[in-house]
Symmetry: C2
Subunit: 277 residues, 2 copies
């Protein structure tokens, strides 16, 4: 049954920083009737090399903040937080929550031909081994190769060396093991990595499918909202309030990132003191 | 006059993470009678690309924490916090505080022969232009060239590509302007950069003096403590409590960094929830 009151409520989307905008953009594109509140923890970014306890503590604060917006569902648009915090925090919540790990793992398991899947991500994501567990649940004979690529996020954020031999060399080094293990499907397990898609594709070759979990996450969210009867079936009347963007550091960095890489306008963002939540 | 009670109190030293251990090590070496409480904000590291307001807020929390140890003086062992927060927070404090910027700028101004000084650091440090201001106060005809090198910290932390053409290429790119401007003195304005000293030296050539502010900061601290009559004149009796190390994320990362790069043992560290201060 459709719950019209809940259906009008926004979706909460959060990330350690601005990379999760790639997931937000997919939600905006695939689910144009939905409202959204985005939060990027730019004052404490990155999460990738921080401990599980710290990532859980930060995620709990953000969820308390998002709930002040009366969100109907939450998307963890950060691979590290999905890997480290989601298993814990979903037990504590009375609204649906999904991360970016499971949709990516599912599509990789469904796509592989030779049963050899690779996953690249931050140290936190990779050391959680959560992709491997999910993929093995689908088919225990699948072989999963994991590799942390800690320089990829700073390289994307620096921007200067993209499409130069510097990035080719670093990517070549990180991805060597993927070629050695003959993976035919590689999950881009960090929201920044799709910006390196061209280099990664060049290193891996045409034969290897690159999975960007943003697309699958937005699809999974759409299905979830429908199942729970809380999908918005009409476009919001107050269009200018459909999307709220918020960050914990100053808003200029968000605008700068969004302007270069985000297909929708980002403006009137809020700066939130997230430690107070 | 010597204040014996205060002299026995520890020095508080803080950094955005573990890089400030290079400054701590110099203090331990040059001032062996002093006690020290070190705090590294590893849960919120790095500060380098964050805004002034955020860095000031974080620094105030850390100073409140250090004061619970009854510290007699504070060293800001982080260039970004020294650049962005120190001018503001030193007005609020009733104990002496020094940063790493001024000692480095002073020695550079005193060492240059041709009056052309370079400074490399994080985005926050460079955009503050504080080195330039301090150097021009010494001699307004000096020419200062500034350059942010945002990939240097992640490269040091990754460790994999040190002494390879990848780092040579990146360093060459960042330092081009320094050679073009003919600097004869280059300040390593970030605690991580001394770990790249060899590469930076190779790119710049033998003729250029590299200034590591850690040494000068420890010297300036020693002078300050003597002037104020609060230098410790005898070795602490309880040696095992002379140095307290604390961090905001889990302690293992600190041990790992210290083991590879720190000349003193680091053990029994404390994990502090810094947001509560």
């Amino acid at each position: 049954m459709q719950d019209i009151g809940r259906a009008q409520a926004p979706i909460g989307v959060f990330d350690s920083g601005v990379g999760g905008l790639t997931v937000a953009a997919e939600i905006m594109r695939q689910l144009p009737n939905e409202r959204m509140v985005y939060f990027g923890d730019t004052a404490r970014v990155p999460y990738g090399s921080k401990s599980k306890d710290t990532v859980i503590r930060f995620s709990r604060q953000i969820i308390r903040y998002l709930k002040t917006w009366n969100v109907k569902a939450i998307v963890v648009a950060c691979n590290t937080a999905s890997a480290l915090a989601l298993p814990e925090i979903q037990k504590e919540l009375d609204i649906p929550i999904i991360g970016v790990i499971e949709p990516g793992a599912m599509v990789a398991a469904a796509s592989t031909k030779n049963g050899k899947i690779g996953i690249i991500g931050t140290e936190g994501t990779i050391n959680s081994h959560i992709h491997t567990r999910l993929i093995k649940e689908q088919n225990s004979s699948f072989e999963v190769t994991e590799k942390a690529c800690p320089l990829f996020v700073p390289l994307v954020e620096e921007g200067l060396f993209l499409d130069t031999p510097v990035v080719d060399t670093i990517a070549g080094h990180y991805l060597d093991i993927m070629k050695e293990k003959d993976v035919d499907t590689l999950i881009l397990g960090c929201t920044h990595y799709p910006f390196l898609r061209e280099t990664i594709g060049k290193v891996m070759g045409d034969r290897v499918r690159l999975v960007n979990p943003a697309y699958e996450t937005a699809r999974a969210l759409g299905n979830l909202l429908k199942e729970q009867g809380i999908a918005s079936e009409e476009s919001p009347h107050d269009k200018e309030k459909q999307y709220i963007f918020s960050v914990s550091d100053e808003v200029q960095k968000l605008y700068q990132f969004a302007k270069n890489r985000f297909p929708f306008p980002v403006e009137n963002a809020l700066q939130i003191n997230i430690e107070e939540y």
